[in-house]
């Protein structure tokens, strides 16, 4: 399974106690519980840490008071609309731009002062990654390997492995000029991994790729996180795609990180106290009012909202009373067609938080629906 010679498989995968109710959907076989920062009962120091990190361009704060910790083995999604400060944050973490105030630590080092050490172990795939069009894919990677000071023979071997991993072995010796957008992106992933990084930072890795290509890329990223044992930071405005492989996400709007946690945690925050909402759908729309009266009397139910024209009810309850709800309705001869615990998806989360942000900045608007 492990195709990477330089990544010994003896290291245990960062397994964490499963919190399966977190609402994050599985993506093929890549589903993984959020990585807990606990290993053998010890708290690991974060590999990426920001404290009060801020960057000002002129009068404009691109990033303001960012506090963030990312732990080893995590896939962290930095989500937000364009211009929210995601790329600026990344550049500060890489030491490519200096913070106006605050501190950043990457693998315990200051990226601005120890840029070379940080860059040696951090791979960065920039937005709109570019290659030397006249060189072949392999030669582009070889250049990166040389810049990283890898010995020639080792570099060639590793590049061949990486090209196979990202599925570009067949096109390795064709000039990058003929590559499709998706191929370039996959070459970009291989490029980032040439240096065997401990942290990989991907800026909008799915931009401009068709759905099948996106699926491939995300699959690849999740697999690399597992097999290469790297910590991954993904920035994206396409939350839908990225949430599927992220252990935790941070919502970034207007230079501020306004919420972070697993999708489940964010969902709970959004539910705001009411522990459980059950969506009920009845067969006949006319029954809606009667169903409401019946359900309100069920023990544990604190309130019922209705949408009579759709035959739908939202039942707020203190515990899971789905069985009692079903029984009540059926005993009273009301046809029940749907009964499910209402989960707040990233849609709701995104929408809720972005309302506070610059709504005009929202791209991929089709991905954002109002909460029902």
């Amino acid at each position: 399974m492990n195709t990477f010679a330089s990544s010994p498989s003896s290291a245990p995968a960062p397994e964490a106690p499963a919190a399966s109710a977190d609402g994050a959907r599985a993506w093929g076989e890549t589903a993984q519980a959020p990585a807990a920062p606990l290993v053998n009962g010890q708290v690991r120091p974060p590999v990426i840490e920001a404290r009060g990190l801020s960057k000002r361009y002129g009068q404009h704060w691109a990033v303001r008071d960012l506090d963030l910790q990312i732990h080893e083995g995590e896939i962290f999604g930095l989500l937000g609309p364009n211009g929210a400060g995601k790329t600026t944050t990344i550049l500060m973490l890489l030491g490519l731009t200096d913070p106006t105030s605050g501190t950043a630590r990457v693998l315990g080092r200051d990226p601005w002062r120890e840029a070379l050490a940080v860059k040696a172990s951090v791979g960065y795939l920039p937005e709109n990654v570019g290659f030397y069009d006249d060189l072949t894919g392999r030669k582009n990677l070889l250049y990166t390997a040389r810049l990283n000071g890898l010995p020639e023979a080792e570099a060639r071997e590793r590049i061949q492995e990486l090209l196979e991993t990202v599925g570009l072995a067949h096109a390795a010796d064709r000039p990058v000029r003929v590559y499709s957008r998706g191929m370039r992106q996959r070459l970009g992933l291989a490029d980032v991994l040439v240096k065997s990084p401990r942290i990989v930072i991907l800026d909008e890795p799915t931009l401009g790729i068709d759905p099948a290509g996106i699926r491939e890329i995300l699959d690849l990223i999740a697999r690399l996180a597992r097999e290469e044992r790297v910590t991954i930071l993904i920035s994206s405005h396409l939350l839908h795609q990225v949430q599927q492989i992220c252990h935790r996400v941070g919502i970034f709007v207007g230079g501020r990180l306004i919420a972070h946690g697993s999708v489940g945690q964010l969902s709970q925050q959004l539910a705001g106290g009411a522990p459980l909402v059950v969506d009920v759908e009845v067969e006949a729309k006319a029954d809606t009012a009667r169903a409401r009266e019946l359900l309100q009397r069920v023990e544990g139910v604190s309130g019922v909202d209705t949408e009579p024209e759709a035959g739908r009810l939202q039942v707020r309850c203190s515990r899971d009373v789905r069985a009692a709800l079903a029984r009540t309705l059926l005993e009273n001869g009301i046809g029940l067609v749907g009964l499910a615990v209402h989960t707040y998806g990233l849609d709701d989360i995104y929408h809720r938080y972005f309302q506070g942000g610059d709504a005009g900045e929202q791209r991929g608007g089709n991905a954002i629906r109002r909460p029902a």
């Binding site: 315990g108 810049l147 240096k195």
Partner: protein, 342 residues
């Protein structure tokens, strides 16, 4: 640091990446960038086209010069001690001399190798990838400059040797040691001159966003210095020190001095004066030569190489300084730029 080391124990990986052997003697990445750029230049069409142009015109000029010279040689019967150098400086009615072509066309090579050095990387999207590698940022611009310099040096040296070989063949004469040294000096001055245009082009490519804009700017400067600067300086000299009476030596001298000194603001004129002095040992002064200065001089006696060099020392210094200033400006601008500034 120690805490990080501790966390590594549960994830054994290949040796500490910072400890990898890196070529470059404390300038990681410089050698890699240099090699890559060199390979790009040598296999690129720009280099082929422009060096082809310089070589073809240069050899044509030298060939015509050799024809003219062998006619003169046959007629005169007496040997000019520096006849080999004349190969490089003699023109015929139809074709200017070899040095003229180098002075005009070689800067184009410098421009072609440098005009998209930085902004080309930006527009391709490779710069952000490059700067996120563990190399110092200046390795990028240094490597590019050094690679360009290497290509220019190779090309010019090859050209001078090629023309020399042609001369051997056509004239049947070998250069003397002094001629050889003068040619080597000519080569050196030419390299510095073209390096000036290379650094100017790199400066344009650092400051301007579009590769087209930087190419056009560099070309405009080249056109100005090659063609119009001389005319412009003449006009300024006319305005500042007009010659109302062509028989008044004081006026004429003042005008000439103005024109000459203004001209020395132009790298092209500096270079041409330097080359003229180097390849023609008869040149004793770059300004007007007064009768009192030649009193006691042996008519027609050539200057030794040391004296010729002394004569153009300010020119060499100025050319070198211009190159360094341009490169330093490009270097500083590049180092201070935000990577995502555009």
């Amino acid at each position: 640091m120690s805490s990080v080391a501790a966390t590594r124990s549960d994830a054994p990986r290949e040796g500490e990446s910072g400890a990898r052997g890196r070529p470059g003697w404390g300038a990681p990445g410089l050698v890699a960038v240099y090699r890559k750029e060199l390979a790009d230049h040598v296999s690129g069409w720009r280099f082929l086209v422009l060096s082809g142009l310089v070589i073809v015109t240069g050899i044509a000029a030298a060939y015509v010069a050799a024809q003219t010279l062998s006619d003169t040689l046959a007629a005169a019967g007496e040997l000019d001690p520096f006849v080999f150098l004349r190969l490089y400086t003699t023109g015929s009615g139809s074709l200017p001399p070899f040095t003229f072509f180098v002075a005009i066309l070689a800067p184009l090579l410098g421009i072609a190798l440098g005009f998209d050095g930085i902004n080309g990387e930006r527009s391709r999207g490779t710069l952000s990838r490059l700067v996120s590698q563990p190399i110092h940022r200046d390795a990028i611009i240094n490597g590019k400059f050094l690679a360009g310099l290497a290509v220019i040096s190779l090309m010019l040296a090859a050209l001078v040797v090629l023309v020399g070989a042609l001369g051997l063949q056509l004239l049947g004469l070998a250069p003397t040691l002094e001629e050889f040294l003068r040619l080597a000096a000519f080569c050196g001055v030419s390299i510095v001159y073209v390096a000036f245009w290379l650094s100017l082009a790199l400066l344009c490519s650092t400051l301007l966003r579009q590769t087209v804009a930087s190419a056009l700017t560099a070309l405009a400067l080249w056109l100005f210095f090659s063609l119009f600067a001389g005319l412009l300086f003449g006009l300024i000299a006319d305005a500042v020190a007009p010659v109302t009476d062509p028989l008044d030596p004081a006026q004429v001298l003042r005008h000439t001095a103005w024109e000459a000194n203004l001209g020395r603001l132009s790298p092209t004129i500096l270079y041409q004066e330097a080359v003229q002095t180097l390849l023609n040992p008869q040149v004793r002064s770059l300004g007007p030569l007064l009768l009192e200065q030649v009193v006691g001089a042996v008519a027609g006696a050539p200057l030794p190489l040391g004296q010729s060099l002394l004569l153009i020392w300010p020119h060499l210094t100025a050319l070198l300084a211009l190159t360094i200033v341009c490169f330093a400006a490009a270097y500083i601008a590049f180092m201070r730029q935000e990577i995502r500034a555009w």
